[in-house]
């Protein structure tokens, strides 16, 4: 299975684009984590940090101010603000 792709977009620029092993989101209903091969999902996000475990094993943190995430075909698209 291909590694999971993560894209974090804002209207002004691309904050992150690349492969990830696991991604933790600040969901409106609480923190949740997405692993490789997740079922299709649409969830809203509140302000907080997206914590990305990259393919190399490093952890990256991306601050967002709310938004929405769509998971489909192992591609995670985050529309942040």
């Amino acid at each position: 299975m291909h590694p999971m792709q993560l894209e974090v977009l804002t209207p002004e620029k691309k904050l992150f684009s690349g492969e990830a092993k696991a991604v933790q989101f600040p969901g409106t209903d609480g923190l949740f984590q997405i692993l490789n091969g997740h079922a299709p999902l649409i969830a809203t996000l509140r302000a907080g940090d997206i914590r990305v475990e990259t393919a190399q094993g490093a952890t990256e943190s991306i601050a967002i101010n709310g938004g929405v995430v769509e998971v489909s075909n192992n591609v995670l698209s985050v529309l942040a603000q």
């Binding site: 209207p11 079922a39 299709p40 649409i42 969830a43 929405v68």
Partner: protein
């Protein structure tokens, strides 16, 4: 024959005007590139947002949506997006005319109009008519999503509180550096997203519910719509200014060569005259 000094002065003044217009043209060309990049940056976001939105709203009844309520229009809010600076051809006049036409069509139906200026140039005439109730001219100085967000929020408040029944944004859509197209777009009430074919993927998980996601997304789409109008307008402004300054430089150039020709003719005539006088003088002496 015009006098030499006068012509020299005019040539100098046309030349310095030409320097200014050609510098402005170059500055606009550089800024246009930046503005175009911003438009391109925003596009994937807008496309994705629309995809998500149509996915969520495909199976939902939009009637409960507070941003889609169709009321009889008694007060219409128009946001003419223009620039804070002139010297860009018909750019601002076009926005003004389109706004004027839109307002007139609503006034004919007995509705009142209200204008929120975004950019000085097109909203200034409405200030004289006492239609301007708020302005966001500073936003046009440096367009950012934060600025668009603020405008979007205020517009939504005005709509949901019942202060206005319809909101339009009038702006120049960027086609290419030489062509801008004036658009009057309805922002609120939002049109129900067109159902694009069958709801193909209904196996999505939603967190929280679809309804709540939709309510969260709609304000974002409105802000994005405003942001897109601002970015397009900025790109169009620089395109329009570039074209206007290019023409001005060309005109100055042809004017200068005409003046040069006149100057040279006058100079030659003066020299011929002097020689004639000298020869006549010498002849008188020898005769």
């Amino acid at each position: 024959m015009a006098n030499l000094k006068e012509l020299r002065n005019r040539i100098a003044s046309v030349s310095s005007t030409m320097q200014i217009t050609s510098a402005m043209k170059m500055v606009s060309a550089a800024k246009l590139k930046k503005a175009q990049d911003a438009v391109t940056q925003m596009r994937p976001y807008a496309v994705k947002l629309n995809a998500v939105l149509s996915n969520v709203s495909a199976t939902l009844d939009a009637s409960e949506n507070p941003f889609a309520v169709e009321r009889t229009v008694r007060r219409v809010l128009v946001l003419p997006v223009s620039s804070n600076r002139g010297l860009c051809g018909a750019f601002n006049t076009n926005v003004y005319k389109a706004t004027r036409a839109l307002i007139a069509s609503y006034e004919a139906q007995g509705a009142q109009a209200e204008v929120w200026g975004v950019g000085k140039k097109a909203s200034e005439p409405f200030r004289k008519l006492d239609l301007v109730t708020s302005d966001f001219n500073a936003t046009m100085g440096a367009v950012s999503f934060a600025g668009a967000k603020e405008i979007g929020q205020k517009v939504m408040e005005a709509f949901t509180s019942g202060q206005v029944d319809a909101v339009y944004v009038v702006y120049n859509r960027f086609k290419n550096a030489a062509v801008q197209e004036v658009m009057a777009e309805q922002v609120l009430p939002i049109a129900a997203p067109a159902a694009e074919g069958p709801a193909a993927q209904s196996d999505y998980l939603y967190s929280p519910s679809k309804e709540e996601i939709l309510l969260d997304l709609i304000p974002t789409t409105i802000k994005i719509q405003v942001f897109k109008a601002l970015l397009d307008s900025v790109a169009s402004e620089h395109g329009a200014r570039m074209t206007a300054m290019h023409k001005a430089t060309d005109n100055a150039n042809s004017m200068r060569s005409e003046l040069r020709l006149q100057y040279n003719k006058a100079r030659q005539a003066a020299i011929t005259n002097e020689i004639l006088e000298i020869v006549a003088g010498a002849e008188a002496l020898s005769g």
